[in-house]
């Protein structure tokens, strides 16, 4: 009997396999629609018309929110100046108008329907002649309103933006860290990371210098930039990173060129990278993360970017553990052996050979991780910490619901949105595990 050649799975095979599950496919479609909705949220749910004609002139108010115009009002016999994002377009007598699908924005306070109007209740509006008429059709608040008369559906659509952003950005950070630490832990193990003493000492010294010149000396500069704007702070952090890289590079060069000539420093020793990373993971997993997030969010009030950063910095352990386990296996495979025999540098083996082949399980972890991050963020905004006061999120809608029992729609709909999104990511993660993880076959 001839031995069968090992089955090779290409990416396309995996996708075909993935697609077989109807639920997983539905989850992917749901998330794509949700993603598209958040991208187009301003066009889908907005209190300004997409297109309108007023006093014989054409306007595109959705696309020009900052525009300021003046219109001659015949009734009052004077010019009215208005900015496009302030005026209530519905109170104007428009000759022709195309409204967005949901004619309310997340911050629109519908003063006629404030105080928790339920989805089925009689909702009213004031027309151009000052008469109160019942709201009909598309203009109804389909999912009810909040205390201030904000449309719940519009809020959910715009809140999805925050949730998805938090999920994606924080898992992006976590993936980068987890991939890096997991890869070096798995690739080098405890025995294969050999460096001369000179290099190890210089590395420690270099890190110390990085702290001093990268952060300590520039502390007030970074702080001042942070007070100015988020972009300026990113710029300063970038400069810090550049300085640190420069310091580490020169320390490395110095060790290689000068110190290694001294026999004492040239002696090679092993650094137990794997143990170091594993212990760090264990410590991080022992720390009550929610406490860190809460105490930091209290200090740095109202920055969603900060929430993302903290969630990212504390949730990389899952990715790192999977990558480590995968690379521990890959390191002993023939093609790594071949690369080693060819004399490729280690970083090239990690980047070009090991990581691309060990990426599959990371996808599983990312998918579950995004679900976790979305829950974390909405829990935080449910507790009213983390996001700026005027940003509406799913968690905040739920918070309103939890303090006003009579407004059941504030509890049911946003919670259901969280549930569906989280479950979709979980379904995808589960399906990815079935497809990619060889053990579960």
């Amino acid at each position: 009997m001839t031995p069968q050649p090992p089955k090779i799975h290409s990416r396309r095979d995996n996708w075909r396999q993935f697609r077989k599950s109807k639920t997983a496919l539905a989850a992917v479609i749901f998330l794509s629609v949700l993603g598209l909705t958040t991208l187009l949220a301003d066009i889908i749910a907005n209190d300004r018309p997409l297109y309108c004609e007023y006093e014989g002139k054409s306007h595109f108010p959705v696309f020009t929110p900052t525009k300021v115009d003046s219109i001659y009002d015949e009734l009052k016999n004077k010019y009215i100046h208005f900015s496009y994002n302030r005026i209530d377009w519905r109170s104007l007598h428009l000759e022709a108008v195309v409204w967005p699908l949901i004619p309310y924005g997340p911050k629109t306070m519908d003063s006629h329907n404030k105080g928790f109007k339920s989805p089925g209740s009689a909702q009213v509006f004031m027309n151009a002649f000052g008469e109160e008429k019942p709201l009909t059709g598309r203009f109804r608040h389909l999912l009810g309103t909040t205390k201030n008369g904000q449309d719940v559906l519009a809020s959910i659509i715009h809140g999805a933006r925050i949730s998805l952003l938090v999920g994606v950005v924080s898992m992006g950070i976590a993936t980068l860290i987890g991939l890096f630490l997991g890869a070096i832990a798995g690739f080098f193990g405890d025995t294969r990371f050999k460096r001369s003493r000179g290099m190890s000492y210089m590395l420690i010294f270099g890190l110390f210098l990085c702290y001093f010149y990268g952060y300590y000396v520039r502390k007030y500069t970074i702080e001042a930039a942070g007070e100015e704007s988020f972009g300026a702070m990113l710029g300063q952090i970038g400069i810090t990173l550049l300085i640190s890289m420069g310091i580490l590079w020169s320390c490395n060069r110095l060790a290689a060129k000068v110190l290694n000539r001294v026999p004492f420093f040239a002696k090679k020793g092993t650094i137990p990278v794997d143990s170091l990373v594993s212990r760090t993971i264990e410590i991080l997993r022992s720390v009550p993360v929610i406490l860190i997030v809460i105490s930091f969010s209290v200090i740095f009030k109202g920055s969603i970017w900060f929430v993302m950063l903290v969630i990212g910095l504390t949730s990389w352990t899952g990715v790192a553990r999977l990558v480590r386990a995968e690379l521990l296996r890959i390191v002993n495979l023939d093609y790594i052996e071949a690369a080693r025999a060819l004399g490729f540098p280690e970083w090239r083996m990690i980047l070009r050979h090991a990581i691309p082949n060990g990426m599959a399980p990371v996808l599983i972890s990312i998918s579950f991780g995004i679900a976790g991050a979305i829950i974390s963020e909405s829990s935080l905004s449910f507790l009213n910490i983390g996001v700026a006061a005027d940003t509406i999120t799913w968690g905040k809608l739920l918070r309103m619901g939890s303090s006003n029992f009579e407004a059941w729609w504030l509890t049911v709909f946003p919670g259901f949105a969280i549930f569906l999104t989280v479950m979709s990511f979980n379904i995808i993660g589960e399906r990815l595990r079935d497809v990619l993880d060889p053990r579960s076959k």
Binding site: S275, I283, S286, V287, P288, L291, I299, S378, S379
Partner: protein, 490 residues
């Protein structure tokens, strides 16, 4: 095995040390001054010329509180600093003042000049007191205008005391100059201002910026905050006093932890009681309709955020408009000297909603774990052997299957340890349970640092303990596992 246990226990120490250090560094670096919890500065202070004495009293009482909580000591054994900073920089306790001085130092690098300028400015500020006394001799109409001018001058000066930007400083100097220029009775202050301006110019003519770039390590020895904190815990199990209530932390934790403990424990037990049979049954009936439905439900449960479930339960079952079956919060009504357990089970009705919210997630997680582990076991040879021996199906499943499949689940019990103490922030907030989670949540807002640190360290400790216990349980229940190999090596 023994060697492994000893190694793990030895590893405890550095891990705990790092966790406590992380907790400590986070809390010390928070920009909020904890002393503000006790002494709040009156809003208008600094504008009232008469209040110099009360301001001094305030500062004295702040200092006393700092000494009571060891906040006047250096933070850690050593400190990495630049040559420009003096050794005694930590003695400036007021965070705003320290920040301003640090910024000035950052721009000039000359400590004695910075000190000279700041000292001059402080004297100038105090000088307003003399000016106020001098004004009292003016006729009434002028006195009113003069007091106003003096107040303006004071507010500008107090702003100067927390400004480090050159533009801001020169702008305020200019403001003061114009204020004094046509007011004869402020002559005295004007002369003082000239001195301040002179020392400010000195600041920029005598720059030693290079000093900023020379790192030095300042050694403080064992008389520091961390040492005092850690040694009190190690020797007396004393976590200090809470800033919020003034009670000793260990006493406060002793009071609150019971509620968190009870809810966590009962919900875990309930979760075991439900999820083990559920997992076994759906594995045994693999592919049946029961299995399919329960898998879907359990999977959905896993994605439900607990705060939503809790709110939904309240909106539905504790709502006078829908079903008013259960109370909406966990009120304890202390009538006499009944024991805590008695108090807990006083009213079963109020336990039901919280327990559902606590339990459903664990049921979801554990029954999935049980099912998959049971499915694995069912395929094993010894199961077939047991059947071949003629054992009844139930015996096969329970005696042979369950015993082997339950290992990962039973060891999970150790993972609950940290929650027993730390509680659940969200559920305790929603159901108003007076447990640790809520206390910590409030502590975060009040910057009650001793409390945060105590909980941080204790839950960290319990988590590591949990890992150790679960590893040992694993080894104990499954003799195939040996720990002589080093972890991480294959």
């Amino acid at each position: 095995m023994l060697a492994y246990i000893i190694k793990r226990i030895l590893f405890f120490i550095p891990t705990l040390f790092i966790i406590s250090l992380v907790a400590f560094m986070i809390s010390v670096n928070s920009p909020i001054d904890p002393v503000n919890n006790f002494v709040s500065e009156p809003e208008e202070l600094g504008f009232q010329v008469k209040d110099f004495q009360s301001q001094r009293n305030l500062q004295d009482s702040r200092q006393r509180i700092r000494e009571k909580f060891n906040l006047h000591l250096p933070v850690f054994y050593f400190r990495l600093a630049s040559l420009a900073e003096p050794d005694t920089f930590y003695r400036i306790h007021d965070k705003q003042k320290r920040k301003t001085l640090g910024q000035l130092l950052d721009r000039t690098g000359n400590w004695s000049a910075v000190q000279g300028y700041y000292g001059q400015l402080a004297t100038f500020y105090q000088g307003h007191g003399h000016a106020f006394a001098a004004i009292q001799e003016l006729p009434y109409e002028e006195r009113q205008a003069a007091t106003d001018a003096l107040s303006t001058s004071m507010s500008i000066t107090s702003a100067l005391l927390s400004t480090a930007k050159p533009e801001g400083i020169t702008h305020r100097f200019y403001q003061l100059d114009t204020l004094y220029s046509n007011r004869q009775y402020l002559r005295l202050l004007h002369d003082e201002l000239l001195k301040v301006r002179f020392s400010y110019e000195q600041l920029y003519t005598q720059k030693h910026l290079w000093k900023k770039y020379v790192p030095v390590i300042v050694w403080y020895g064992s008389n520091n905050q961390y040492h005092k904190w850690a040694s009190a815990i190690l020797t007396k199990l004393d976590f200090g006093r809470s800033y919020q209530s003034g009670q000793p932390i260990s006493q406060r934790i002793g009071e609150l932890f019971f509620w968190s403990f009870m809810f966590t424990l009962i919900s875990v037990i309930l979760a075991y009681l439900i999820s083990l049979p559920l997992g076994i049954l759906s594995a045994a009936l693999h592919g049946s309709r029961f299995d399919k439905i329960s898998t879907v439900i359990v999977f959905a449960f896993d994605s439900l955020p607990n705060f939503w479930v809790a709110t939904l339960l309240l909106v539905t079952f504790a709502n006078p408009d829908v079903f008013n079956w259960f109370p909406s919060s966990f009120n304890i009504i202390r009538t006499g000297d009944e024991g805590l357990i008695e108090l807990f089970f006083q009213d079963i009705n109020r336990l039901i909603l919280p327990l559902i919210a606590y339990t459903y997630g664990q049921v979801a997680y554990m029954s999935r774990l049980m099912r998959s582990s049971m499915l694995e076991v069912i395929q094993q040879d010894y199961m077939r052997t047991a059947r071949a021996k003629g054992l009844r199906e139930r015996m096969v499943l329970l005696r042979h299957g369950f015993r082997n499949a339950s290992l990962p689940i039973i060891t999970r019990f150790a993972g609950v340890l940290p929650a027993l103490l730390g509680g659940n922030v969200i559920l305790e907030t929603i159901f108003m349970i007076p447990g640790m989670g809520r206390e910590v949540f409030e502590a975060c807002f009040a910057q009650d640092i001793p409390m945060i640190m105590a909980v941080f360290t204790l839950t960290g400790f319990l988590a590591i303990l949990g890992y150790l216990v679960s590893d040992l349980l694993y080894a104990w229940t499954d003799p195939r596992i040996k720990f002589h190999k080093q972890e991480g090596n294959q």
